[in-house]
Amino acid sequence: MGQTLYKAEITETPILRFAGNNFEPLPSGGLYWHAQQTLLVADLHFEKMASFARRGQMLPPYDTGLTLARLEADLRRTGAKRMVSLGDSFHRADASSLLTNSDRMRLDTLTDLVECIWLSGNHDPAPHSIGGTCLPDLMLDGLILTHEPKRGATGLMAGHLHPAAHIHIEGRSTRRPCFVHDNRLLILPAYGASTGSINILSPAFVGLFHWPALEVTMLGKDRTYPVSTKRLVRG
C-alpha cells in the first residue's frame, strides 16, 4: 500500500483546464488565470466572525486579517494585475463599515495596487464603498463570472456553494475544500478564513454537474491535488 506516496512529493504546478482556458489552482483557494493576469477568488466573507459579536458571540476578530494576508500573498506570488471576487466578499451588507482600521488600510492598499472587481453575492447584494468596481456579474474572454452557479450554463464560473471533497484511500481519509467543474460549470472553493464547506456529494450540488466529466482539485497545504473521483465519499 501507498508505494507511490513519495513520488508525489515532487511539487508540480497542476493546470486546471476549463472551457478551453488554462488556470492555476492555488492551495489558498484562489484560481489564477495567466492569460488574463487575473486572480479569481470566491466567498471571502470578510467580517464574518465580527458579525457574530453583535449577537453576543465574541468570535476572534482575526479572520479578515487572515483572509487579507492570503490575498496579499497570492497577488504577490502570481503577479496578478486584476482580482475578481465572485460575490459574498463581505459577510453582511454593512460589513465594510465595520472593518478595523488596520484591516481597512490593508484593503485600501490592495485595491490601489491591482484592479479589483467585486461581484455581488447573496450576502452583499448592494455595491459598497471599497475601492474598485462593484458589478452584478462579469463576462471575461467568453467566460461568465458570477456568484451563484446555474444549471445548464456553459463557461460559467461561480462560488456560493463552498465545495469540499472528502476522499478515502487505503485507510486514510481527508476532507478539504476543492475546485470542481465539468468543463461547463466551475465552482471555486470559499476563500475566506472563516468559511465552512459543503461536500460536493451533498444535495446542494445535485443536478449541477455532468457527473462523468467531473474534475475535482483539492486544496493541500502547499499545493493542490487533482484527485480521482472514484475516491469521493460523503460526510
Binding site: 507511490t4 459579536a53 468570535l59 479572520d63 478564513a193
Partner: protein, 890 residues
C-alpha cells in the same frame, strides 16, 4: 435451531411500577417479611442473643441525640441506625462538615439526611434547610421518593421536592417564592439557581448541603461548576455545613479538602463506614480459544449464558455502546430458553431505559447488558452477579461496578471478569489482584478550567453586578480554583466581557460592562437569557433521533420516507449517518435496521435482515487503562514464575515471546522492528492507554519522517503501538542513522507537539467543548436552534483563526489543559517518556513476534492514522494520473 429474536425489554412491562416496595437505600423495605440481615434486630424480636439496639451507657451516642419521633419510627420498623449514620449526625451536631466514604449499599442516603430529619423534627423551621445535589436527575427523583416515605411515616411536616430540567416553570416559580425544606437537584440546576437575582433570599436560610456520589463529580467539569456554586452559596448562607457522600477513592483527604474549602474555619470530618465483606471475584474459565485481538468476546457468549442461567439477576458491564450491542446480539443468539435479557445504554431513548430499569427493579429481568449508564444510580434490587466483559481498566472502577451487586454490606458481592482478548487476560489478572488488595486507583479531583470559570463569572454577573476583587476572593473558595492567579482571573473576566482578545475590537458589543462604581454588570437582559440557555458543562455530540418507520419500499427518487412518525428508538451521533447510504443496515438498540434517510433532525430506519450489519462505533466511552493496572500488567509480564495462574494459552504465548524475542521489562520499553511483506514495522509496548499511544504515534511518525524512515501509518491499542513504513527500520537503527533514545526523547512534547496541535482534530474537538462551556459559542440561541454540524464546523474555523493569531489566548490555554489530560493524554505520555529514558530495549527481528500479533490484527479494525492528510490526496492524485494514462487496474 433458529436463533432467538432479540427484543429490547421494556415494551411488555408496565411503565410505572409501584415504588413503595423499594428499599430506602440501606434501610430494608418495609414490605419484606423478614428483617434484613444487615440490621441487628431489636431485643426481644427476631433472633436471640443479638446485640442490643442502643448500647446505652456504653459506646455510641446517647438516645437523646435522636428525637423521639425518629427513634419510635426505627423501633416500629425493627431497625437501628448504623454507626456511620450516627457519626454523620454527630458531626452535624458538633457543627462540622463531613465526608462519608462508604461502599454502595451502606445506607449513605439515610446518613446524609438523618441530621436534616433531626433538625426539622419539631416542625418549626421555615425556608430552605437542606440542598441535595446528585449527579443524576433520576437519582434525585428516586431519593426524593425514598425520603418522602419515612417523612410521611414519621408524621413530620417536612417538604422535600426535586428541581430538574423536567420541573414545570410554574413549580419552579413557586419553589423560588416558597422554597421547600429539602430541595433535591443537580449541579446544573444549582448553577441556574445561584445566577438568579433573588438567590440571596432563596439560600439565606440554608443550613446543609448533601453532595451525593461526589466521587463521580470531582473528576469532571461538572464538579468544577459545582465547586464554584458552593463557594457562592457558602457566602449566601454563612452557617452552611456540607455533608458529602462518596464511594471509596484513592485520596479521600483531597476530597475532604474539596468540601472544606468553601467554608474556611469549619471543621470537616472524614468518616468511613466499616467495610463490608470483600468481594468474590473470578475470571471466566473457558475451554474456548481466546482471541488475539478485538473486543467482542464472542467466544464467551455460550459460557456467559450458562452463568446467567445459574444466577438470579446478572448485570453485564461493557466499556462501549458498540460492545453492548454486540454482546446483546450474541447472548440472544444462544438464548434457547428465551430468558428476559435486556439492553441499557446511553443511546437508547429515555423511556426505553426507564422501562428496563423498572423491569430490573421488579425482578422481571434475568440479565441486563449495560455501559457506564448503570455505574451510578438507584439500587437495582437483587443483582447477585456483576460481570465485566472486556478490559476492567481500573481497580476503583471495577470495585464500584462490583458494588452494584448485592447491596447488603455483610454479604460478599460476586463478580466475574471476561477478557475479550489475550492482553485483556493479563489486565483482568492484574485487576483481580488489585481488587483483592482493595487498591484504589481512582482519579484525583481536578483543578479548575478557565472555560467553566467563564461560565460561572457570567452567571454571577447575571445574579448581581460584582466587583472583580470580591469575586476573585470568592472563587478561590472553590477547591479547584484555590490557586488561581489573579491575572488569569482577570483574563477570564475579559473573555466573558469581550472575548479577551489582544486586539480589542468588540468593546461596543461587550456582554459585561464596568459601571462607574467599578462593578461588572451584564450589558442587557439578552445576555442573561443566553447564559441560561447555555448552562452546564456536558457537551453532547450532535445527535439525531432514530425513528423506526414501517417498511422499506420507498419509491425510487422519493427523498423523504412515507410513514414518518413511528417509534423513536433512541439517538445516535450525527456523523455516523454521514457514512451510510440509504439501504445500509446497522445494529441499533439490539435490532438490525436499514437506513432509510435523514430528514431534519431525524434518521428514519426500518426493520431489516442482514447477515453483515454495521455496528456503529461511538466516540468516547473508552476509559484508558489506569496507570496502576498498567504497571501491574508489566509486572506480570516480567514475572514468569507467576504465569502459572494464567490460562495455558496465554502463558504459552508469553513463553513463545520470551523464546523468539524478549519480554517487556517492568521499567523499560521494548521496541521490536521487523519486516513484513514490503513494509517494515516498529512495535513498542508502553501500556499507557490508547489515547497516549495515539499521541505518541502522531509524534513518532513526524520524527521518523525526518529520519527518512518513510512511515506510512500507525495503529494504537491500550497496550501497544505499531508504526509501519517503507524504510528499513532495523537497518537504520543498526547503522546508528536512527537513535531510539533520540526518537523517544521527551523533547517531542516541544516543537513536534506544537506543529501537530495546530492541525489536530482532537485538539479541535477539545476546543469546541471549551468554547461552548465558556459561552464563546452557543449551543442554543433563543428561537433559533443551530444544528450540531454548523457548530462543529465553525468551532474548527474559530480554532484555526485563533490558534494562528493568538496561540496564548485564554481559551487555547484551557483547551491545552484539557487535551493534555483528555483526548491527547500528554501528561501520561510525558510521564512514560521520562520513565523509559535510556531504558529502551531494541530487538530487531526477522518476523513478527508473538506479542506483536494482536496489534497487527488491529490494523483494519481500529482507526489507522495516515502519516498526514496530504498523503491521502497525493495517492488519489497519483491514481487519477494512472487512470488518465490507462494503467490503472480496476
Amino acid at each position: 435451531m433458529l436463533p432467538a429474536v432479540p427484543v429490547v425489554y421494556g415494551a411488555s412491562f408496565h411503565p410505572s411500577l409501584p415504588l413503595e416496595g423499594r428499599a430506602w437505600e440501606g434501610v430494608a423495605s418495609c414490605t419484606t417479611d423478614r428483617p434484613p440481615p444487615s440490621f441487628p434486630p431489636l431485643k426481644g424480636e427476631g433472633s436471640e442473643g443479638a446485640e442490643p439496639l442502643w448500647p446505652i451507657g456504653k459506646l455510641g451516642p446517647p438516645v437523646t441525640t435522636l428525637p423521639r419521633v425518629i427513634t419510635d419510627w426505627f423501633a416500629r420498623k425493627g431497625w437501628a441506625p448504623r454507626q456511620h449514620q450516627l457519626d454523620v449526625l454527630e458531626s452535624w451536631q458538633a457543627g462540622a462538615s463531613a465526608l462519608l466514604i462508604a461502599p454502595t449499599g451502606a445506607g449513605k442516603t439515610l446518613a446524609g439526611f438523618l441530621p436534616t430529619l433531626v433538625d426539622l423534627a419539631d416542625g418549626k423551621f421555615e425556608g430552605l434547610h437542606t440542598l441535595y445535589i446528585s449527579p443524576l436527575k433520576a437519582l434525585a427523583v428516586d431519593v426524593q421518593r425514598n425520603l418522602n416515605a419515612p417523612i410521611f411515616e414519621m408524621g413530620l411536616k417536612i417538604s422535600a421536592e426535586t428541581r430538574t430540567g423536567d420541573t414545570p416553570a410554574s413549580k419552579r416559580a413557586r419553589q423560588r417564592a416558597k422554597p421547600p425544606h429539602i430541595l433535591l437537584t443537580t449541579p446544573e440546576q444549582l448553577a441556574l439557581l445561584i445566577s438568579h437575582p433573588h438567590a440571596e433570599l432563596f439560600f439565606g436560610s440554608l443550613k446543609r448541603i448533601v453532595l451525593d456520589e461526589l466521587h463521580a463529580l470531582v473528576t469532571s467539569k461538572r464538579g468544577e461548576l459545582l465547586s464554584l456554586a458552593l463557594a457562592r452559596i457558602a457566602k449566601l448562607a454563612p452557617g452552611l455545613q456540607i455533608t458529602a457522600l462518596s464511594a471509596t477513592v484513592a485520596r479521600p483527604d483531597l476530597m475532604r479538602d474539596w468540601i472544606a474549602q468553601p467554608v474556611p474555619g469549619r471543621e470537616t470530618h472524614l468518616l468511613t463506614s466499616s467495610g463490608g465483606a470483600p468481594p468474590v471475584l473470578e475470571i471466566l474459565e473457558t475451554q474456548q480459544r481466546l482471541p488475539w485481538a478485538g473486543h467482542s468476546a464472542n467466544y464467551a457468549h455460550q459460557d456467559l449464558y450458562e452463568v446467567i442461567k445459574q444466577h438470579k439477576t446478572t448485570l453485564l458491564f461493557v466499556n462501549t455502546r458498540s460492545q453492548a450491542e454486540m454482546l446483546f446480539q450474541g447472548l440472544w443468539a444462544v438464548n434457547d430458553d428465551m430468558l428476559p435479557i435486556a439492553l441499557h445504554h446511553g443511546s437508547l431513548s429515555v423511556e426505553q431505559r426507564r422501562k428496563v430499569e423498572n423491569a430490573m427493579v421488579s425482578g422481571q429481568l434475568k440479565a441486563v447488558v449495560c455501559t457506564s449508564t448503570l455505574d451510578l444510580g438507584i439500587d437495582w434490587g437483587d443483582v447477585d452477579l456483576v460481570v465485566q466483559v472486556g478490559a476492567p481498566k481500573g481497580s476503583s472502577r471495577m470495585l464500584q461496578r462490583i458494588g452494584r451487586a448485592n447491596h447488603r454490606l455483610d454479604e460478599p458481592s460476586k463478580a466475574m471478569l471476561v477478557p475479550s482478548n489475550r492482553f485483556e487476560v493479563l489486565e483482568c489478572e492484574a485487576a483481580l489482584e488489585a481488587v483483592a488488595e482493595n487498591h484504589q486507583d481512582s482519579e484525583d479531583p481536578v483543578n479548575g478550567g478557565y472555560d467553566v470559570l467563564a461560565q460561572h463569572v457570567l452567571g454571577m454577573a447575571c445574579a448581581a453586578p460584582f466587583a472583580a476583587d470580591d469575586l476573585y476572593d470568592e472563587v478561590r473558595l472553590a477547591w479547584p480554583y484555590r490557586d488561581l492567579p489573579r491575572k488569569q482571573f482577570d483574563r477570564v473576566v475579559e473573555l466573558v466581557a469581550t472575548g479577551g482578545y489582544a486586539l480589542q475590537a468588540y468593546e461596543r458589543y461587550a456582554r459585561l460592562k464596568l459601571t462607574e462604581k467599578g462593578l461588572w454588570r451584564v450589558a442587557n437582559p439578552q445576555v442573561a437569557q443566553q447564559y441560561r440557555l447555555n448552562i452546564g458543562t456536558i457537551i453532547e455530540e450532535p445527535m439525531v433521533r432514530v425513528r423506526l418507520i414501517r417498511t422499506r419500499g420507498l419509491k425510487k427518487g422519493v427523498q423523504s420516507p412515507v410513514g414518518a412518525g413511528g417509534r423513536v428508538l433512541g439517538e445516535m451521533e450525527e456523523y455516523f449517518f454521514g457514512t451510510l447510504l440509504v439501504g445500509d443496515t446497522f445494529i441499533f438498540g439490539g435490532e438490525i435496521v436499514a437506513f432509510e434517510g435523514l430528514k431534519d433532525n431525524e434518521a428514519y430506519v426500518s426493520r431489516a435482515q442482514s447477515a453483515n450489519p454495521k455496528i456503529p462505533s461511538y466516540m468516547g466511552g473508552r476509559f484508558p487503562l489506569s496507570t496502576y493496572l498498567a504497571d501491574r500488567v508489566r509486572l506480570i509480564l516480567d514475572s514468569p514464575d507467576d504465569w502459572g495462574k494464567l490460562p495455558d494459552q496465554v502463558s504459552d504465548w508469553l513463553r513463545l515471546q520470551r523464546d523468539v524475542s524478549v519480554l517487556p521489562k517492568r521499567d523499560s520499553l521494548l521496541v521490536e522492528t521487523f519486516p513484513r511483506g514490503t513494509l517494515n514495522y516498529m512495535v513498542c509496548y508502553p501500556f499507557e492507554g490508547r489515547l497516549a499511544h495515539q499521541t505518541l504515534g502522531m509524534l513518532l511518525t513526524r520524527r521518523l519522517e525526518r529520519s527518512r524512515a518513510r512511515p506510512l501509518g500507525f495503529v494504537a491499542s491500550e497496550y501497544t503501538l505499531a508504526i509501519w513504513g517503507l524504510g528499513d527500520l532495523s537497518g537504520l537503527i543498526r547503522t546508528a542513522r536512527l537513535s531510539l533514545d533520540e526518537l523517544f526523547s521527551e523533547d517531542m512534547l516541544g516543537d513536534d507537539l506544537e506543529d501537530w496541535l495546530d492541525e489536530s482534530a482532537l485538539m479541535k474537538r477539545t476546543f469546541r467543548n471549551c468554547a461552548i462551556i465558556s459561552g464563546l459559542i452557543e449551543r442554543r440561541h433563543p428561537g433559533k436552534e443551530k444544528t450540531g454540524r454548523q457548530i462543529t464546523m465553525s468551532s474548527d474555523l474559530i480554532y484555526d483563526v485563533l490558534y494562528q493569531h493568538e496561540p496564548d489566548h485564554i481559551l487555547i490555554q484551557a483547551t491545552r489543559r484539557d487535551a493534555a489530560r483528555g483526548l491527547l493524554d500528554i501528561e501520561r505520555l510525558g510521564d512514560m517518556l521520562r520513565r523509559i529514558r535510556s531504558h529502551i530495549v531494541h530487538k530487531p527481528l526477522q518476523r513478527v513476534s508473538p506479542l506483536a500479533v494482536p496489534i497487527l490484527l488491529d490494523i483494519g479494525r481500529e482507526p489507522i492514522f495516515g502519516e498526514g492528510r496530504e498523503s491521502a490526496m497525493s495517492d488519489a492524485a497519483d491514481e487519477l494520473m494512472r487512470e488518465a494514462l490507462g494503467s490503472d487496474p480496476i
